[in-house]
Subunit: 311 residues, 2 copies
């Protein structure tokens, strides 16, 4: 296993390739040896959330490939593609400290042709929340994940729970199109004050950074409501739909403290449909999600919650 082959954490220079042909050649050689290959797609500017995915991937696969590619297709025309933070030498050093076997760094203009004409769109789970706030975002994600899977041809794909709706969209695409790859989801890694790690956190002003932990605090408040029942009241037949609405209100109340930002949403959804949970077909878990747009960066976070003790 990759993790065991290496001395603990000793930095080394990870091989990096930028062409599809080069990554395929290396993967083909590993395949001949019967090795299992895991893939962690990233947009770079790595943090402990990414690195924890690499470590987890290495536990079940023989080889771990990490891509560093700021995907132009998933940014809207008014979004922060140009301003998205980048630091390749730092990324490469960090990847050298974990169990990375190869970094794939496609070059934007070569990888996405100027006359690129193909798009993968997903209905349902891709529609609400991030889908409404960022039109075209998930089609850009699905399209580039398809390209990356076809370029790397891994056995395992690792994504982070932090981008829960992205996980749901990619899961749906992989299932609908029969991708021969196993999807794994790693848990969100947080700062000590609860802020979910994100490459965009670095852009927050000190005042915004001070308010940023309110996202996770809001999620915990929503989780408390879901666990206890709406507003703490116990009823003979707890309604998941009612608890979900109460949780949304509780989250919004906490987020109101983020006076520097605008609340994009505070939602409780069925994690399979991303629609509000309904009592006639109650999900076993509800996903709580929040998004706040600060002037310097837009933040998202989420927690999955089992549907109350009485269920």
């Amino acid at each position: 296993m990759a993790a065991r082959r290496r001395a603990a954490g000793r930095a080394r220079i990870v091989p990096a390739v930028s062409s599809v042909e080069a990554v395929r050649r290396i993967v083909a050689a590993w395949r001949v040896r019967g090795e299992r290959i895991a893939f962690v797609p990233t947009m770079g500017y790595l943090h402990d959330g990414h690195l924890s995915l690499v470590r987890r991937a290495a536990r079940v696969a023989d080889r771990v490939i990490v891509s560093v590619f700021v995907n132009p297709l998933q940014f809207g025309p008014r979004e922060d593609f140009a301003a998205y933070p980048r630091d390749w030498s730092r990324d490469r050093r960090l990847l050298g400290e974990v169990a990375t076997d190869l970094v794939f760094t496609p070059q934007s203009r070569l990888y996405v042709a100027p006359d690129h004409a193909t798009q993968i769109s997903v209905e349902g789970v891709a529609r609400p929340l991030e889908g409404e706030e960022r039109p075209g975002h998930f089609a850009g994600v699905a399209t580039v994940v398809a390209k990356l899977l076809n370029s790397v041809i891994p056995d395992d794909l690792w994504l982070g729970q932090k981008d829960a709706q992205q996980v749901a969209v990619v899961r749906r695409m992989m299932s609908d199109l029969d991708w021969p790859v196993r999807l794994h989801v790693g848990p969100t890694v947080r700062e000590r004050d609860g802020l979910a790690m994100s490459s965009r956190n670095v852009r927050l002003s000190p005042a915004e950074r001070a308010q940023a932990p309110l996202l996770y605090r809001a999620l915990k408040a929503g989780r408390d409501v879901m666990r206890e029942g709406g507003n703490g009241r116990r009823t003979a037949r707890p309604s998941i739909a009612a608890h979900a609405r109460a949780a949304e209100r509780a989250m919004a109340r906490v987020l109101a403290g983020a006076t520097l930002g605008k609340i994009d949403y505070a939602a409780a959804v069925d994690p399979h449909t991303f629609q509000p949970p309904i009592d006639v077909a109650p999900p076993r878990r509800v996903l709580l999600l929040v998004a706040v747009r600060f002037p310097s960066a837009r933040l998202i976070d989420n927690v999955p919650v089992p549907c109350g003790p009485s269920r």
Copy 2:
């Protein structure tokens, strides 16, 4: 090679599987032996056009997989999905007479889930002609070809020139999404009177069948115009755009004889863009395409033509 392993044309029962898991298991065993795998997707009701693809595929690959699947996603709500001809026992017998190693027969309701939510759409080449006549058709084709490629995971994909625009759409999708598969195109196989073989020909009434060869006759008339220059006139600087328009008029004149049908189009296009050829960036070949909607079946045909003797 599959073609050589077999006694010439002796019928045998071809193995057939309907689940993705089964086809992958068989392909994996072939892969371990280092065999090269070709894939011929069909909608069944096979004719010599399909069988010629299987024979060609067997010449360059060790194994040939044929899928028989009437893809519901590529039919419009008013189209002939239910009436599309089907004859599985005949198909299986015919495949036993050529170099088929495995038939993949996905079951419609299992293969395309009731809540299927993913679609692959292609801009540009998928827009005009068939794209206009059959909205959603090419998205349905692209989506199911992606599923089939992910199910079978072949080295080679074989399509027929008869569906020239479908070939262009799939080529574009495979290139844009980096599919690790080589696309091959087999030439159109025709009846003695020139009618391109098609599963739908069987549905023509005798009177329609008598008019059906006009499609190929129109294409030959258009080809003559392209070869000779517009209307036979020679000019010092032949204009491809003008020749193409003259070829379209010549094809329409011939098709006017198909009095039982409606001409959907008679077009001369750049085969890379499916737009009218332009003189400032003349293509090396022009693709002539015709489509006629008879009451019993809609027919399409095409021929590629080099751009005139003076080029």
